[in-house]
């Protein structure tokens, strides 16, 4: 196994690219030390935008959401704890909420903060926080679920999408969970969670073999401690980081770590990255970047940022690129989040990725000129590949790029590097 490739793969999995400095340090300190550095990060708690200033020409909601999305993308670019941000993105796909029908951008901003805070902590804490989160209470109708008038929407997705997965519960379990969760509502004056005992159904229930006057806390606890939740979550994490199916024994190994560490996600991730199953996927080049990951990693290369008025158009121009590549935060195709992996690529989304590469390379001409100043064509290519974190590019790709660099100059070469299949994967 190419050591350089393995380290770059790890850093790209845990973030949005790898700088030459990071890669050098990683190789010096060794793989295991790098896994620990990345997983045991110093948590960041950036202040989410207060969503009061709007770009001109936007309606209130759309403009606020554009501000929020831009802010988050820039946070991904500038973060010093990349895995925290990567996991925030993972949870955003897992516990999806959408602009419609949540409509209150402040709720979405607060949910983003919540996911970041709990990014690698105990899954049970995260599950409880999400179940009481106003954006989620609106998105899946939890706030209208009350004694005598149960709304099963949240309970169903809680079991099917967030924890156990289909086939591991009955319709009766969903009904019981909905009753148990009744009374978790919203204080609309302050826009925060409110426990409303008068709307709670405190009758006896039977849920996944547990009986009693179960409430929402109990349901969340039972689910978070369930071995099937451990298996399903570990399976999802492995697929998210590698792009390939999880070997059955790897699911069991990681699930055991989850249960042994009482659901602490950081422990699972450390075991995952240190495991041989993960390392063996490095050469496969199957870990397709999501559109957000792709867009962010391309901008990081030349220290760019998403800004209002940047480039040839307003913020919306950049966000529109994400829509056409297939992933705009808070605009998931369904409650199940985005279909990941190979599903990110069809002819249309690939075309839009290639065009995006061209846009980025053309937009940062000045930074590019600094990067390749005084270099021969060969040196310029090496510097650009290094800046893109692609020193480990396949020799075939390198040969193709060398030809274009000699013939067409750095800007077109950078566009090609960003458009290359190697840059579409981790």
């Amino acid at each position: 196994m190419d050591e350089r490739r393995l380290h770059a793969y790890l850093w790209r999995a845990c973030g949005f690219g790898v700088t030459p400095t990071e890669l050098g340090r990683s190789l010096r300190q060794g793989y295991e030390a790098s896994v620990r550095e990345l997983v045991r990060y110093r948590p960041e708690r950036p202040e989410v935008p207060r969503l009061t200033e709007l770009p001109p020409g936007f309606t209130l909601t759309l403009g606020q959401v554009a501000v929020l999305i831009t802010w988050w993308l820039n946070q991904m670019i500038t973060t010093r704890s990349p895995l925290q941000e990567k996991m925030t993105l993972f949870w955003h796909g897992h516990f999806t909420s959408a602009v419609v029908p949540v409509v209150f951008p402040a709720f979405l901003a607060n949910q983003n903060d919540l996911l970041r805070t709990h990014a690698t902590g105990r899954f049970g804490d995260l599950l409880r926080a999400v179940s009481q989160d106003p954006a989620m209470l609106v998105y899946l109708d939890g706030h209208v679920n009350e004694k005598g008038h149960p709304n099963e929407n949240y309970a169903r997705e809680l079991l099917e999408l967030f924890t156990l997965g289909a086939g591991h519960y009955t319709e009766a379990d969903i009904k019981a969970a909905a009753r148990a969760l009744s009374g978790w509502g919203i204080d609309w004056v302050h826009g925060v969670f409110q426990n409303q005992p008068e709307r709670h159904d405190d009758g006896p229930k039977r849920f996944l073999g547990h009986t009693g006057q179960l409430d929402g806390e109990a349901v969340v606890r039972i689910l978070a401690n369930h071995p099937q939740t451990a298996r399903r979550l570990c399976d999802r994490l492995f697929r998210f980081f590698t792009g390939v199916e999880t070997p059955a024994d790897e699911v069991e190994r990681l699930a055991a770590v989850y249960l042994q560490h009482h659901g602490v996600v950081a422990a699972v991730l450390e075991a995952l990255f240190l495991g041989s199953a993960f390392r063996q996927t490095a050469e496969l080049r199957q870990a397709f970047k999501s559109p957000v990951e792709y867009a962010v990693s391309a901008l990081r290369v030349l220290h760019g940022q998403f800004r209002n008025g940047i480039g040839t158009g307003p913020t919306w121009l950049w966000l529109e690129k994400l829509v056409s590549m297939g992933q705009l935060p808070w605009l998931p195709p369904s409650v199940a989040g985005w279909a990941e992996g190979a599903a990110w690529f069809n002819t249309g989304t690939l075309l839009d990725r290639l065009n995006y590469a061209h846009l980025v390379a053309g937009h940062y001409r000045n930074s590019l000129a600094l990067l390749v100043d005084g270099a021969t064509a060969e040196q310029a290519l090496a510097r650009m590949l290094e800046a893109c974190g692609l020193s480990d590019v396949t020799s075939k790709t390198r040969a193709h790029l060398a030809r274009i660099c000699a013939a067409r100059g750095p800007e077109q070469t950078l566009a090609m590097i960003l458009a290359s299949p190697d840059f579409q994967v981790r």
Binding site: V100, P101, R285, Q286, F288, V323, S324, G326, P333, S334, A342, F345, N346, T347, G348, T349, L350, L351, D352, L354, N355, H358, L359, T394, K396, T397, H400, R403, I404, A407, R408, Q412, A415, M416, A419, S420, P421, D422, Q424, V425
Partner: protein, 359 residues
């Protein structure tokens, strides 16, 4: 292995009998173009039943349209379609919807596109058809419609074939080399993209009309020989406020695009125009309408038996302020699958629905 060979090999392995529908092409090279009016088009102001109940529910939004037949009229912005209607090349199916309607755009669109209750199927109705019958699907728009989600069929997605930034031969050759060497899913996707771009550039033609839908239908017109099923969408129908101008604008765009497109295609192309739901009977306080239920659907083409189909929903017998559908959208799908594409509608839809005789 070519896709066609792949299907045949799969079928041979599975020991499946070659049913008549399992031919590569639809009968006689027929094409189906589905246009989704996204946002929930107000059906009551599209095909107008100008009665007392309508005027009472719509004091500010009521329109007098251009007379069709049986007391019904068409929105003035759709007037360019009248020659097609009068020539018997346009069918209007009234009251299309489904039981227990969902008023969320996404949920209702999913129901229309999967053809089953919400969450009951992952794949789309056209995707399931293509998985059985074979044939290429083309999606023109920024996102892939769920109607084309499929287990095997891989729809071609394309939005702006003329805005490819690496169109220069040497750039393309370089990308081609890199993607071919890389192989796998990315290599295959790039190869398909190239094929489609080549096809598009080989059949450049005049734009069928201006506007978003005009552009999309122009791309479809160029790709018609490439595929069998085509899907696209037009947004802007979610008229909660200021409906009069906004709906007139988008319906006007629809009419222009349809007229231009129908002029370009032959009788083997069938166009269907639908929306995920209609709108509430009573207008709201912002001169708009909120999400409702059933609405009219258009079918255009030389093969159509033109005229009016489906009973116009009663404005006196509403459920929760909404129309009750008179035709299930799966009846329309049954006609399209059985009488146009030559498919097994019952198998695709998982049930038997009475066809609407517009074909």
């Amino acid at each position: 292995m070519k896709r066609r060979e792949f299907f045949q090999a799969t079928l041979a392995l599975a020991g499946v009998m070659m049913l008549p529908e399992l031919s590569w092409a639809s009968p006689g090279g027929r094409k189906l173009v589905m246009i989704h009016l996204f946002g929930g088009n107000d059906g009551l102001n599209t095909v107008i039943n100008d009665c007392g109940a309508y005027r009472r529910a719509r004091p500010r939004l009521a329109l007098s349209g251009t007379a069709l037949a049986k007391g019904l009229a068409l929105h003035p912005a759709l007037e360019p379609l009248l020659p097609l209607y009068r020539a018997g090349k346009m069918a209007i199916v009234n009251g299309v919807g489904y039981p227990d309607p969902d008023r969320s755009h996404f949920a209702s669109a999913d129901i229309w596109h999967t053809g089953v209750r919400r969450g009951a199927a992952h794949y789309g109705w056209l995707g399931r058809y293509l998985d059985r019958a074979g044939g290429e699907a083309v999606n023109v728009g920024s996102s892939l419609t769920r109607a084309l989600y499929a287990a095997k069929s891989q729809p071609l997605c394309l939005r702006n074939p003329d805005q490819f930034q690496f169109a220069q031969p040497e750039d393309r050759a370089l990308l081609q080399g890199m993607y071919a060497d890389f192989g796998g899913h990315l290599g295959r996707t790039f190869e398909r993209l190239e094929g489609a771009l080549d096809h598009c550039h080989a059949c450049e033609g005049e734009s069928v009309a201006s506007g978003d839908l005009g552009k999309s239908l122009s791309v479809i017109a160029r790709l018609l020989p490439y595929g069998k099923v085509f899907c696209t969408a037009l947004s802007g129908f979610d008229t909660h406020s200021g409906q009069k101008d906004r709906q007139a604008e988008v319906l006007g765009q629809l009419a222009q695009a349809l007229v231009g497109f129908m002029r370009r295609v032959d009788d083997k192309t069938l166009v269907v125009v639908y929306s995920e739901f209609g709108r509430r009977v009573e207008e709201n306080a912002s001169q708009g309408t909120d999400h409702g239920t059933a609405g009219p659907l258009f079918v255009l083409g030389g093969g159509v038996k033109g005229g009016l189909y489906g009973e116009y929903p009663s404005l006196d017998h509403l459920v929760e302020g909404d129309l009750v559908h008179t035709v299930d959208f799966r009846q329309v799908y049954t006609t399209l699958l059985g009488r146009w594409l030559g498919g097994d509608a019952t198998a695709v839809l998982g049930g038997r629905y009475e066809a609407v005789p517009f074909l």
